[in-house]
């Protein structure tokens, strides 16, 4: 192929999935001249798996993306067909939003946003290799011969790298949903010296909703309350579409057991490592053989399609078996399968080869984000894409990277886990991965990150001003609760009694009353004089949470302080661990590989013990001492 010079940019983003679109939009909005290349324009923001966004931990990520000026929250708010708040009966730290998306609408809306964005060029093209000179990434070469130059490049290749679809005995090279796979780029990365792993994921069959007997299933409607991911959203979808719950049957399990020999997972055809939290139905049946049924959620894929996603039935069984399985499921006996489920194997980069900025250690100016880093999930991809895009643009514009820490955002937890610990399976965020989840709530993502988003240049001034007003309102309202005391009156007694709370005998400060588990903001505010202004719902919510859980919040803040002290102890980039006596061999090898930037990060590397850290500290301390005195 004859090459030609096709132009130069500040940032090139390779891929336009959930990571790619955030990376491209962020870079362009920050003022970087940005090119986004994708194998197919039909693949922009495509959801090849379940038609939903959010959920525990993931929903918080979407809010964080929004607070930092990313797009996912906006886009799902425009295109959802159902929205629910999960974990409402639990504490505020674990509440989460989840939306069912209209898949096609989601893609169209995102594509339009990209097309409307200044500084951003969206172009179809298969990137075959990187242009690397002296360890610095200078651009990319496309299959058509086009050579693009750039100051930084972000790879967001999803599952396309050497993608292979497997359905029973059928195997073929493919990206998700029969998109074209990318073969050369993976080889190029291998040649450049990157360690790659083979991962696997899968998706269930889709059926035609017209042929589903919903009377045999349970309805799962959305919430009536107006909900949104973005702090910007003011309009809400009215006519929501429900999901439906059904179950596998003993017959389904029997079919699976009878045909395990034809399952690529058990026949050895699949070599990639799959995620434990999203197992195929055959894995569930084998590993949890005592369970007589498994939940299946029937999720519509959009408003203008009857296609229904059978969540929970992810499988790579032969098509014939998949159809037999469907026939044994209540409500799906007569369902027409529209697409079979499949497993897909792909190449991913070992993410410990990245700095926390998502720049590769090996090649300067090259960033990677999303599934290529071994994660799974749209939200995980988008969060990384946003940070990769931000840091690629900052690099191109000559600025220091922005790194979120574990107490700042789930995105920080995600990236720190990846670059510090790596992952042996496709990585999914879980609330239990966060040490400070009471701080990383979905309700306070704006309070945590808007300031930063504004500094980066992704939060417009108008929105920032609105945020500052909200912050001030929270402060004032909290102050009011500290200042005002509730006096014991008949009225007070009556209300406390109604709520099942003990009466008061002397004046009690409003904030103390609010700490009682039986009482909410509205109850206590009802006993106080009017504030003279209308307190918005989100301010009321913040005040309630901040006051009610103050004890726990301050406890976690103390732990964060402790953590931050260790994060502040920086490790020189060129530190030679082989000269440090006493660090165990395993720890030495791991530290050598991960090259943590701080003692805090070093302490989270698996295989590194507190004693290794103590020795490392001694070593760094001695070095500092020597420099000072010598």
């Amino acid at each position: 192929m004859k090459g030609y010079q096709a132009g130069s940019y500040d940032v090139i983003v390779v891929g336009a999935g959930h990571a790619g679109v955030e990376a491209g939009l962020a870079a362009a909005r920050m003022g970087a001249k940005t090119l986004m290349l994708t194998i197919s324009l039909e693949g922009v923001a495509f959801m090849p798996c379940n038609p939903s966004v959010g959920g525990p931990a993931k929903g918080v990520v979407v809010r964080e993306i929004d607070a930092l000026g990313g797009e996912m929250g906006h886009n799902i708010d425009k295109t959802y067909i159902q929205m629910r708040m999960l974990n409402t009966r639990k504490g505020p730290a674990v509440r989460a939003l989840r939306a069912q998306a209209d898949k096609q609408l989601y893609q169209r809306a995102m594509k339009e946003t990209i097309e409307e964005t200044e500084n951003l060029t969206l172009r179809q093209g298969m990137v075959e290799r990187l242009i690397v000179e002296d360890g610095i990434c200078r651009g990319v070469v496309v299959a058509t011969g086009a050579e693009y130059r750039a100051k930084s490049v972000v790879l967001t290749t999803g599952v396309y790298l050497k993608g292979k679809i497997i359905i029973g005995e059928l195997e073929y090279e493919s990206g998700p949903n029969n998109m074209q796979a990318s073969v050369h780029l993976s080889e190029n990365l291998h040649q450049l010296g990157f360690d790659m792993v083979r991962f696997k994921t899968g998706t269930p069959p889709r059926v035609n909703g017209r042929t589903v007997d919903y009377s045999k299933t349970e309805i799962q409607p959305g919430d009536d309350a107006p909900l949104s991911f973005s702090y910007d959203t003011t309009t809400f979808v009215k006519d929501q579409i429900p999901c439906w719950l059904t179950y596998t049957s003993p017959e389904t399990h029997q079919i699976i057991r009878d045909n395990l020999g034809r399952s690529p997972i058990y026949s050895g055809a699949i070599v990639g490592t799959g995620p434990r939290y999203c197992p195929s139905i055959e894995t569930k049946v084998v590993r949890f053989s005592d369970k007589s049924r498994h939940q299946l959620f029937l999720e519509p894929e959009g408003k203008e399609t009857r296609e229904v996603y059978v969540d929970g039935l992810s499988t790579s069984m032969p098509e014939e078996i998949q159809r037999k399985m469907l026939e044994t499921i209540p409500g799906l006996e007569k369902a027409e399968m529209m697409r079979p489920g499949y497993a897909i194997e792909y190449d991913a980069l070992v993410p410990t080869q990245l700095w926390p900025s998502l720049e590769t250690k090996k090649i300067s100016g090259l960033f990677t984000a999303g599934q290529i880093n071994g994660t799974s999930g749209y939200e995980e991809a988008a969060g990384q894409g946003l940070m990769g895009g931000i840091n690629a643009a900052r690099k191109a514009l000559g600025k220091d990277p922005v790194i979120l820490d574990r107490a700042q955002a789930y995105i920080g937890v995600l990236i720190d886990d990846l670059v510090t610990k790596g992952t042996k399976e496709p990585y999914r965020l879980l609330t239990s991965r966060a040490e400070y989840r009471l701080l990383l709530r979905h309700d306070n993502a704006d309070l945590r990150l808007t300031e930063l988003g504004h500094q980066i240049g992704l939060i417009p001034e108008k929105r920032y001003q609105r945020f500052l007003i909200k912050k001030e309102q929270i402060r004032q309202e909290r102050e009011r609760f500290t200042r005002i005391s509730i006096r014991p009156t008949e009225h007070t007694d009556k209300l406390l009694k109604e709520k099942g709370a003990a009466p008061i005998s002397e004046p009690v400060r409003a904030e103390h009353l609010l700490k009682r588990p039986e009482l909410g903001y509205d109850d206590v505010a009802g006993l106080m004089p009017e504030p003279g202004w209308k307190v918005p719902a989100d301010v009321r919510e913040q005040v309630e949470i901040q006051i009610k859980y103050e004890g726990y919040i301050s406890k976690q803040l103390q732990q964060v302080e402790k953590m931050k002290r260790m994060e502040k102890k920086k490790i020189p980039k060129d530190l030679d661990y082989s000269v440090i006596d006493g660090i165990a061999t395993e720890a030495r090898q791991k530290l050598d590989k991960v090259q943590p930037i701080s003692v805090g990060q070093a302490s989270r590397v698996s295989g590194v013990n507190p004693s290794d850290i103590a020795i490392l500290l001694v070593y760094l301390e001695q070095g500092r001492l020597a420099r000072k005195t010598g």
Partner: protein, 478 residues
């Protein structure tokens, strides 16, 4: 450099641990009835804790560094004055540890100093491990390795013991016990996590506040039992009640004099005070011994010792440790055999004295009667073997639990006790939270803390095991 290797070895074995973010305290003067005792506190909370307990002209947070202040220690529970004290404040970084240090100078009596240390330890301050002030000084760059060497040598004996304890307990019952407790906590944690991360998953038990409280309380009770057998803290504060027993004329008072004079322990080092010797207490390489009935031994001389088996028996009743002297120059007497029986389960060290003379004692029988106890050959006359005795006392103190009932005993290590206490208080927090009706996922934070803390005892804190538990136990997939 030897000391560096040594420190590294301690770190490797987990004796020196990376936890110098917390505040520690210890009695920094030898235990005993000196004129003045000093309790030293070091760490980020030292001054705050000091202010909670000290009432002087001004709060310690407002005084200049390196100043000393007159005032009273109070019990924050009831606000009552406990002791009149002088408190000195040395602010970081110009202190020995390069942390904030508060030193409380109080009356030398054991009761005073114990009470003050007790008040401090109630404020979430941890008891310092042997040599820990020095370790901090070192890690904070206060002293360099060669300087540290000298100080480290001083604490070597103690820490070596502690290290061995860490190892021997690691393989033993403590680790089995801790693993069991952690498993119970992990079950709670995993169930709560599943409820959170997979709210629609219908096959997991919904953990209510009551369930969490009851299960946490069960684990806490177990920790309480374990802690009730942990006597080392008490011993460190009050001294190890030690009886020297044996037939007349076997060398009891020689041993007593030797221990007292060789260890010169109970001497106050405060300039201007009398260098008194308090005879009832000796400090054997950091292990305080409170010698029982020394007066009784002193009343007589070796030659015409009148105190016999009866007197020894009475001393036995209160002893944590028995030093049982035998005369190697004579065959075993019936009284010796009776004393062996009288020792019962109390930890004891058997001493064969007068080994400078020809041996006549039936050594096989002695060994048989001694069973698992150490038998040490001694010649007090030639001052031989005392070193070994001191070793043995140290071993007993750090290595084994000096509790009469060995079946119940699990912990003797200061670090382990501190961790168990932390875990216990985390569980108490969880129980309180559940009682107050706070959401389970909040109370769970405390359970997780307890679980992490217990993990530190056996060196397992990797939270990945929680995620592994989730996926092995529950069939998840949305």
């Amino acid at each position: 450099m030897r000391s560096k290797a040594y420190i590294i070895r301690l770190m490797r074995k987990g004796v020196i641990k990376l936890d110098y973010e917390d505040t520690i305290a210890a009695i920094s003067t030898p235990v005993g009835e000196g004129a003045i005792s000093i309790v030293r506190m070091s760490g980020p909370e030292a001054i705050q804790v000091g202010d909670r307990l000290f009432r002087g002209k001004r709060p310690l947070s407002q005084v200049k560094t390196h100043t000393i202040h007159y005032g009273k220690m109070i019990d924050p529970e009831n606000g009552k004055a406990v002791e009149t004290v002088m408190v000195s404040v040395m602010k970081k970084p110009n202190s020995y540890t390069r942390e904030d240090i508060v030193e409380i100078n109080c009356h030398g009596g054991l009761n005073s100093v114990n009470r003050i240390l007790g008040l401090i330890l109630d404020q979430d301050v941890r008891m310092a491990e042997p040599g820990e002030f020095t370790k901090r000084a070192f890690l904070n760059g206060r002293i360099d390795l060669s300087q540290a060497e000298a100080v480290m040598d001083l604490i070597r004996a103690k820490t070596d013991r502690a290290m061995d304890v860490a190892m021997s307990q690691m393989e033993g019952r403590l680790s089995t016990l801790v693993r069991g407790l952690r498993k119970q906590l992990l079950d709670i944690l995993a169930a709560v996590e599943v409820n959170i991360d997979y709210p629609e998953y219908d096959d997991a038990e919904v953990v209510t506040g009551e369930i969490l409280r009851d299960r946490s309380a069960a684990v806490r009770n177990h920790i309480d039992q374990v802690l009730s057998t942990a006597r080392q803290g008490k011993i460190l504060r009050e001294g190890l009640s030690t009886a020297i027993i044996g037939r007349p004329n076997v060398g009891k008072s020689s041993l007593l004099n030797h221990l007292i004079h060789e260890n010169k322990a109970i001497v106050t080092d405060i300039p201007g005070t009398t260098r008194d010797i308090i005879e009832d207490y000796v400090n054997i390489r950091g292990v305080p011994l409170k010698l029982i009935d020394t007066a009784g031994i002193r009343e007589t001389t070796d030659e015409v010792e009148k105190i016999g088996v009866a007197r020894s028996r009475s001393a036995l009743a209160n002893a944590d440790l028995i030093l049982f002297l035998l005369n190697a120059h004579e065959p075993l007497a019936d009284d010796d055999r009776r004393l062996f029986q009288a020792i019962g389960n109390t930890p004891a060290i058997i001493l064969l004295n007068k080994t400078d003379l020809p041996q006549k004692i039936e050594i096989e029988e002695v060994n048989r009667l001694a069973a698992h106890r150490s038998v040490i050959r001694l010649s007090l006359k030639n001052e031989q073997g005392v070193e070994k005795l001191e070793d043995a006392i140290n071993t007993l103190f750090f290595d084994r639990n000096l509790s009469a009932n060995h079946e119940e005993a699990y912990v003797s290590n200061v670090r382990h006790i501190a961790l168990l206490k932390t875990a216990r208080s985390a569980l108490s927090d969880a129980i309180t939270a559940a009682d107050q009706g706070l959401p389970v996922d909040l109370a769970q934070i405390d359970v997780k803390r307890a679980w992490d803390t217990l993990g530190e005892i056996i060196g397992e804190t990797v939270s990945d095991s929680l995620i592994n538990e989730l996926f092995s136990k529950f069939c998840l997939g949305k």
